[in-house]
């Protein structure tokens, strides 16, 4: 008998869309958080909507708390969205326009004692002064906060977040991210956030999944996936901009990340490269330079000091992952 505890959320689904077939599988324990990172149109939203019950599966199944909520096999009926114990923040944000901010947030609360939670949530979302405003009077960021509050106030075991902070000011994101994580942990729920912002994904998830063309290319620890991409495509997606042929095997490359390269020769820290600076431009407090490596490959790097164009340079890529096609 298998005595291993069942995952809170088990996903093994296939959804056929007009131009894309989304086919993914993963499991999440209670309290675990997964961030799915990928470009627009990669199938991120489809995964969330399939789990929530808004999109029908073509094949596969979804289980929540051991209970089959969606399946395509004979005799497997899908549970209605309201019975799945999921909360979903969607993109673009949809509020109930005829209700106030407070009424929106309280919408999913069925028991009156839980209503005290609404005032606390409004406070933490920075919406107390807007409690009586309606959706049309709010900015995009405020609307996203209301949608987030509405989801967090409702009873859920699985929290599904589709770019929930994309319109929120950068300064306010940290507090809201903390609120999402805390609430998810308090409820002993599983959380999935989908985004095309890698830093947002890493800040939320203890697991990171990279999706492209409807497939999960890699799934692992949030930092580990970025440091050790398994393929050139994953490396490209998580920000590696240059690929220098590796001498170890044919069709393998050292993946060069602009923030994981330092000037000078330090063979004990990684791979030493030589090249010519082609151009330099400001990049926040640092500088972004385009470098032509001796092999002819071009890539960008971020440096503290601006080297002049045409400068010959020696650089050390810090433990660059070796990737195959």
């Amino acid at each position: 008998m298998n005595t291993a505890p069942a995952s809170l959320l088990e996903v093994d689904l296939e959804v056929e869309r007009r131009q894309l077939t989304v086919q993914v599988g993963f499991g999440l324990e209670a309290g675990e958080r997964l961030a799915i990172f990928g470009t627009s149109g990669a199938g991120k939203t489809t995964i969330l909507e399939s789990i929530a019950g808004l999109t029908r599966l073509s094949r596969g199944k979804v289980r929540i708390d051991g209970k089959l909520v969606a399946g395509k096999a004979k005799g497997e009926a899908a549970l209605e969205p309201r019975d799945r114990q999921v909360a979903l923040v969607r993109q673009p944000t949809t509020l109930f326009p005829h209700l106030t901010v407070e009424q929106n947030v309280a919408y999913g609360i069925r028991r009156s004692p839980a209503r005290g939670r609404v005032a606390e949530l409004l406070e933490r979302l920075g919406l107390t002064s807007l409690a009586r405003a309606r959706g049309a009077a709010l900015s995009g960021g405020q609307r996203q906060r209301v949608a987030l509050g509405r989801a967090l106030a409702s009873p859920f075991r699985v929290l599904l977040l589709d770019e929930p902070l994309s319109a929120v000011d950068v300064a306010a994101r940290q507090a809201l991210r903390l609120l999402m994580i805390e609430t998810s942990v308090e409820r002993d729920a599983a959380g999935i956030l989908v985004t095309h912002d890698l830093t947002e994904a890493q800040a939320f998830g203890d697991q990171l999944g990279i999706i492209d063309g409807g497939r999960l290319l890699q799934l692992g620890g949030a930092h580990q996936v970025v440091l050790s991409p398994l393929s050139r495509r994953v490396a490209e997606l998580v920000g590696y901009g240059g690929f220098v042929p590796a001498p170890s095997a044919v069709d393998t490359w050292f993946a060069i990340h602009p923030d994981r390269i330092v000037p000078g020769v330090a063979p004990e820290r990684g791979v030493v490269l030589t090249g010519t600076i082609l151009s330099t431009r400001p990049y926040g407090p640092r500088y972004e330079c385009t470098v032509a490596e001796r092999s002819g490959e071009q890539f960008t790097i971020h440096l503290d000091e601006p080297p002049g164009a045409g400068t010959e340079c020696t650089l050390t890529a810090l433990d660059p992952p070796v990737v195959a096609p």
Partner: protein, 290 residues
């Protein structure tokens, strides 16, 4: 840093960059035409009202409406219209909702069926209804089995009013439901609502201004229905028929008091519905005046 404007570019020509002169002329012309159109429509609408008030005296109203039974056509019209409206709401609301959500098979055919009574002259509808629900009609024989007659009865009046007015309600309700984003309904079901709860808490309040306008228009149409009514429900005499008969018997002066009665009975609901829906719409849109 100092910025300079090319000599004479703005002050001399008065041209705003990115907004060509020709475009502004067209915009001004359109505004003038729109105002003229509004004026003409208001005059066309208000003119007959002014004439109605001008040609009516208290004495003539009392003479026409004072005798016992003179108000019977009003009660007949109000009763038949209320029942027709109830039937429209009962049958038309689910139909309009399913059409708006694209969940009805052969939707285009159904829509065409709803539009047909609008495209056909009411008089022709009346004639065709005789064939359908008259004593010799296909449905008429079935109706006879339950002791209903489809010609010159209160039931016939309701049917005729229904035919003339229902498309206005169904099309209005269709537009009202279509204006509610289905994603909002999905959000409600995700938050625990059953479909009927989501309909009551979300769809209905959001569609209400449009539904009210559709209902008010249908009410005005039902109260004023004449073309089909005069063919299949000459009796019991409703207000439009009474106006027609009074006009034939006593000319214009005899018909005007009943015309006033019809306007007074039919108009308040549409006007109130319009005002209410305009206020509700602006409240939801966040443009309500303080």
């Amino acid at each position: 840093m100092r910025t300079t404007t090319p000599a004479g570019s703005l002050a001399a020509t008065g041209v705003v960059p990115g907004f060509p002169t020709a475009g502004r002329v067209v915009a001004r012309g359109s505004t003038a035409l729109a105002l003229l159109g509004a004026l003409v429509i208001w005059l066309a609408l208000l003119g007959p009202f002014a004439v109605l008030i001008q040609h009516l005296s208290f004495h003539s109203i009392r003479a026409a409406l004072g005798p016992p039974g003179a108000l019977d056509p009003l009660w007949v019209s109000l009763g038949a219209s209320a029942i027709a409206l109830g039937a429209m709401v009962l049958l038309g609301t689910p139909l309009a909702y399913l059409l708006a959500r694209g969940r009805l098979p052969l939707a285009r055919l159904v829509e065409l069926g709803i539009l047909l009574p609008l495209m056909m002259p009411p008089l022709v509808i009346g004639l065709l209804l005789i064939f359908l629900i008259g004593p010799e009609g296909t449905l008429g024989t079935l109706l006879a089995d339950i002791h209903l007659t489809g010609v010159n009865t209160f039931f016939a009046l309701i049917v005729a009013e229904f035919y003339e007015a229902a498309p206005f309600y169904v099309l209005g309700a269709h537009a009202a439901f279509a204006s509610v984003d289905p994603r909002i309904e999905q959000d409600a079901t995700l938050l625990g609502d059953r479909p009927l709860q989501a309909f009551r808490r979300i769809t209905l309040p959001l569609a209400a201004p449009g539904l009210a306008t559709g209902l008010a228009t249908a009410w005005a149409r039902a109260m004023g229905a004449f073309g089909a009514v005069v063919i299949i429900a000459y009796y019991p005499r409703g207000l439009p028929n009474q106006i027609f008969i009074a006009f034939q018997e006593f000319s214009l002066s005899g018909a005007l008091p009943f015309a006033l009665l019809l306007v007074v009975a039919a108009l308040p609901l549409p006007v109130l519905a319009y005002l209410w829906s305009a206020r509700t719409r602006s409240r939801v849109a966040g443009t309500e005046a303080p």
